[in-house]
């Protein structure tokens, strides 16, 4: 039970991150390796606005989302858009380059030291029988679920959300009905990066420490979560995130802490071998 609570809070962070991977992959078929670093930037943004500007949690969260949305849009515009029609490997290598640039740039500017995240909220533990749950964990879960529902509403119900899905399915057909592909892709990066920004602030609060390389491992795990759920599928990313979070805490609880990362990668390999389309993925049949 305790592990379930811990796993769900960690899983919701992975889920938020996995959404960005999956949406970007859905629309431009690029694994955005820099996505984990956007989450790191979100955490640093939270760190500064809370420390320097004395923002409360909600303001820090909202502003980090906005900031990361902007960063995501700028990265796409500068780094990926010029390569839109190049072979996919070129964009992939560029994404890895952007990731290094952000990590090392941040380490250079702010030093690579681990710093403790300001505790904008007093930690309270609640005990329900043998299970203890902190207010931070409840907050993370609640905020993540609300953001995921919001995202789902945006993608399902709004015009831009529908355009996003249309472009993911068939960019040329989308152009033929007047959808602006560039703008739709920017919108996708903004949404995905905002989710990463929120995750960054919340993880800062949860783990209480941030550093310029903090995005690497969660980034990879969230990517695995996205593949597990079925890359390109938004509900899949959410499910995948929770599964990975639970798996990781379970490994820890069973005393295999040293292998918790390995377990996640093993999941990736197993998925790729037995069900490459992911949990929710299905083979798309041609209709005649």
């Amino acid at each position: 039970m305790q592990q379930l609570v811990n796993g769900l809070s960690l899983g919701s962070i992975y889920a938020l991150l996995a959404l960005g991977y999956t949406m970007v992959y859905g629309i431009i078929k690029l694994i955005n390796f820099a996505h984990g670093d956007i989450y790191m930037l979100g955490a640093f943004w939270g760190y500064y606005v809370i420390n320097q500007l004395h923002f409360n949690f909600w303001l820090a969260l909202a502003s980090a989302m906005l900031f990361c949305a902007l960063v995501g849009v700028v990265i796409e515009y500068l780094a990926y858009r010029p390569l839109r029609n190049s072979p996919r490997i070129a964009a992939l290598i560029t994404a890895i380059g952007v990731s290094f640039l952000l990590e090392n740039g941040m380490a250079y500017m702010f030093s690579s030291n681990v710093r403790s995240f300001p505790q904008v909220m007093k930690v309270k533990q609640y005990h329900l029988g043998s299970v203890s749950i902190s207010n931070i964990q409840i907050l993370i879960l609640a905020v993540s679920i609300i953001l995921m529902i919001l995202l789902q509403l945006i993608v399902r119900k709004t015009k831009m959300g529908k355009a996003m899905r249309a472009v993911s399915v068939d960019p040329a057909a989308a152009q033929l009905i007047g959808i602006n592909i560039d703008r739709t892709i920017s919108f996708t990066f903004a949404l995905g990066s905002a989710m990463a920004g929120a995750a960054g602030v919340m993880i800062g609060l949860y783990y209480n420490s941030i550093d310029p390389l903090m995005g690497m491992t969660p980034g990879i795990k969230a990517f695995v979560a996205a593949v597990l759920g079925g890359i390109g599928l938004i509900p899949g990313a959410a499910i995948g995130g929770f599964v990975i979070g639970l798996l990781e805490t379970l490994m820890q609880a069973l005393g295999f802490s040293a292998f918790k990362d390995a377990a996640v990668y093993a999941v990736l390999i197993i998925i790729l071998l037995i069900r490459p389309a992911g949990i929710l993925g299905k083979k798309i049949k041609e209709k005649v």
Binding site: R165, A172, A173, L176, G178
Partner: protein
């Protein structure tokens, strides 16, 4: 003249797909462009819609040269296309596909009326409006692709082989609908391999072969032409 294509050439790298083509479409006409597989028909339509840039020549629409315009500007100007292979958005519902067709339009009242019109023309789309578009049959998908293009309220509708791969009853229905669309004042540029059908409903036609226009005339003239019969009408 609504559309005038002048000396248009289009390449794919070293492949010259369209080699100096001239043709025109007048307001209110159905013009059919017929030709065998690989003649360059789809390439011409993609270029008109702004998905490809010409290597040379001009496309004049409503008095403006549009060959450098972005596709969304071309759609906004009143040209929409029913692409080859239908290309409906799988995973979006029938209704959402239609909404996407109206992507650039704002006036809600006019839109409401136009959804109604599309549903009257294609009742099956109304029945299936909340269904994933991928679950439609081929003929129904073709109707959806047409409905989607009509939701943009085009002045000029480009259609790329709407009868391809359809059962004969659907083919007849599609050609009836094309004529009805014309009756309502939309100009149609129709591309087909099914030459007899396409020419029989056309005001004028052009015969395209390996990137060049070989012949032109009214639909009737081309249908009666011996060479056309031999090459495209199976007799």
């Amino acid at each position: 003249m609504l559309l005038q294509v002048e000396d248009l050439s289009v390449n794919y790298g070293v492949i010259h797909a369209v080699k100096g083509v001239n043709f025109e479409v007048n307001e209110g006409e159905i013009v059919s462009l017929i030709g065998a597989n690989g003649a360059g028909k789809t390439t011409i339509l993609k270029t008109i819609s702004g998905l490809m840039r010409p290597a040379g020549g001009k496309i004049v629409y409503d008095g403006h040269e549009i060959q450098k315009f972005k596709s969304q500007k071309i759609v906004a100007g009143g040209i929409s296309q029913v692409p080859e292979g239908r290309r409906i958005f799988a995973g979006l519902t029938v209704m959402e596909n239609l909404q996407m067709g109206a992507f650039l339009r704002k006036n809600r009242d006019a839109l409401k009326k136009d959804y109604q019109e599309v549903f009257e023309r294609f009742p099956v789309l109304q029945e299936r409006k909340n269904q994933d578009a991928a679950t439609l049959s081929g003929g129904e998908q073709q109707m959806l692709a047409m409905g989607r293009a009509l939701m943009a309220k085009p002045k000029l509708l480009l259609m790329d082989e709407p009868s391809m791969g359809l059962a004969p009853i659907f083919i007849n229905e599609i050609f009836d609908i094309i004529q009805a669309i014309k009756q309502q004042g939309t100009t149609v540029l129709l591309i087909e391999q099914n030459a007899s059908k396409a020419l029989s409903i056309a005001d004028r036609g052009y015969v395209l072969a390996t990137g060049n226009i070989l012949m032109t005339g009214t639909g009737k003239e081309l249908l009666a032409n011996k060479d056309v019969q031999k090459a495209y009408l199976g007799g």
